[in-house]
Symmetry: C2
Subunit: 229 residues, 2 copies
C-alpha cells in the first residue's frame, strides 16, 4: 500500500476527524489486497468480516432474487462500502464484484465496531456517513419510482458529467449492460433510450457518451436535487 493511498483514506469524512492513534490502529489491523476484474468480493446473505474501502478500480453492488439481478450502485475510489452491515453486524443485503482490476483495503468489522466506542469523533462520522448513505438510497428509490427509464438515463448522464468537471464527454468505465442494470432497465432498452436521447442533445458511440446540447438534455431530464445526488 502506497503512502499516497493512506493519505487519501485518511481524508475520507469517515476517518478524517478521528485521532491519529486510532486511525493508525485501524490501519494496522487492515489488509490491503489487489483483485482482478469480475471477482466476487461479497455475497449477500453472508456475515460481514470487513469494512471495504475501494482505493483503485470500481466495484458493483448488486442483488439477486429468483434468477433476476439488479445493480444497486457502482462504487468509485476512494469510497467505503457495506458500512451499514458492518455497523449492525448483520448479513449483507448486497453482493459486490469488481468491475475492473481493483485495490481494496479491508478493515476488520470488529475493529470498526470497537472504534465506535473508543473514538467519539469516529462515532459522529459514522452517524454522518450513514445518514448520507441513507439519503442516497432514498434518492435512488425516488428516482426509480418517479421517473421513466429514459429520464433516469438522461439524469445519469448529467450527474456523471458533473462528477467529471462538467466534461461533455463521458467514458463509460464498464459495460453498457451494467449501466442498464444500474438504471433498472433491460440492455436493449438502454440502446433505445440512447437513440431517443439523440433528439435531446446526446450522442453515443461505443463506450463514449457525448452531450451535444446540454440545455436540451437538461430540459428533457428535469434534474432535481431531491432525486439526484
Amino acid at each position: 500500500m502506497r503512502h499516497d493511498d493512506l493519505t487519501q483514506i485518511r481524508k475520507l469524512p469517515l476517518f478524517s476527524k478521528m485521532s491519529d492513534a486510532h486511525f493508525a490502529s485501524l490501519m494496522k489491523a487492515a489488509l490491503f489486497q489487489r483483485f482482478p476484474e469480475q471477482v466476487i468480493l461479497i455475497e449477500e446473505g453472508h456475515r460481514p468480516d470487513f469494512l471495504h474501502v475501494v482505493v483503485e478500480g470500481s466495484v458493483e453492488l448488486f442483488a439477486r432474487h429468483r434468477g433476476r439481478e439488479t445493480t444497486i450502485e457502482i462504487i468509485a475510489p476512494v469510497m467505503t462500502f457495506i458500512l451499514a452491515a458492518v455497523a449492525q453486524d448483520d448479513v449483507y443485503l448486497k453482493s459486490a464484484r469488481t468491475l475492473t482490476p481493483a485495490r481494496i483495503l479491508l478493515i476488520p468489522a470488529q475493529a470498526v465496531r470497537d472504534m465506535i466506542g473508543r473514538d467519539a469523533a469516529f462515532a459522529h462520522a459514522m452517524i454522518s456517513e450513514l445518514a448520507l448513505r441513507y439519503r442516497g438510497i432514498v434518492r435512488a428509490l425516488k428516482n426509480e419510482k418517479l421517473r421513466s427509464g429514459s429520464e433516469r438515463l438522461a439524469n445519469w448522464i448529467l450527474r456523471t458529467s458533473r462528477e467529471q468537471e462538467n466534461s461533455n464527454t463521458i467514458e463509460l468505465g464498464y459495460e453498457k449492460r451494467t449501466l442498464a442494470s444500474r438504471l433498472g432497465m433491460a440492455p436493449e432498452n438502454l440502446s433505445r433510450a440512447l437513440l431517443q436521447l439523440a433528439k435531446h442533445g446526446v450522442a453515443s458511440r461505443g463506450r463514449k457518451i457525448e452531450i451535444t446540447n446540454r440545455k436540451a438534455l437538461t430540459s428533457f431530464a428535469s434534474p432535481d436535487p431531491l432525486l439526484d445526488s
Copy 2:
C-alpha cells in the same frame, strides 16, 4: 401527553440506552401535538426543525416530482421519522402527512444533534437506528427493482400478516390508493393484482384482505429475508 406514552418512547431503541437526565432534557424541549387526518407535517425541500415521533395514528412519507407522487413508507406508532435529515441538518427528501388523526411528539432538531455530542449511548443508538433504516430502504429498492407489482402485493400481505401476529385477516388502516402508491402501482392495478391473487389464496372485500391459503400465497410470493423486512 400521557405517562404511558413517555414510557413507550423511552423504550424505543433510539432512546432506551441514554441517561435519565438526558432523556428528560430532550423531552422537556419537546412539543406534543395532535393533528387531524390528511395534515401535511413536513414538506420536502424544507429544513428540519424537529425530529418527529408518531405516538398514535399513522403517517405517510411520500415524494413528488413533476406532478407524479409516490409513497415511500407508512409510519406506525411508536416510531421516529426523518431522522437522517435531522442528523445531517439538510433538507427533507420526503414529505409527510397524517393518514389518520395522530398524536406526534416533536423534538427540536438542534437538541437531538446536541445530544449526539453529549450522550455516547445516544450516539451509538443513532448509528444503529440509521444503519437499520438504511437497510430498510435498500430492501425497498430491491423489492421495487426485482419484483412485479403482484409479487410486491403478495409479500406485503404476508409481511403485514406477520406484523399482526400472523392473523389471516388484515384490516387496511388507510385507503387502497395509498397502498397502491406504497407498492409502486396505479390504484387500478392494485385492484387487478388483488383479483389475480384470488388464484393464490387471497380474498379481498372492502378494506379487509384475507389469507385463505397461506401456503399457496407464500409459494407465489417467494418471501426473502433479504428483500422483506
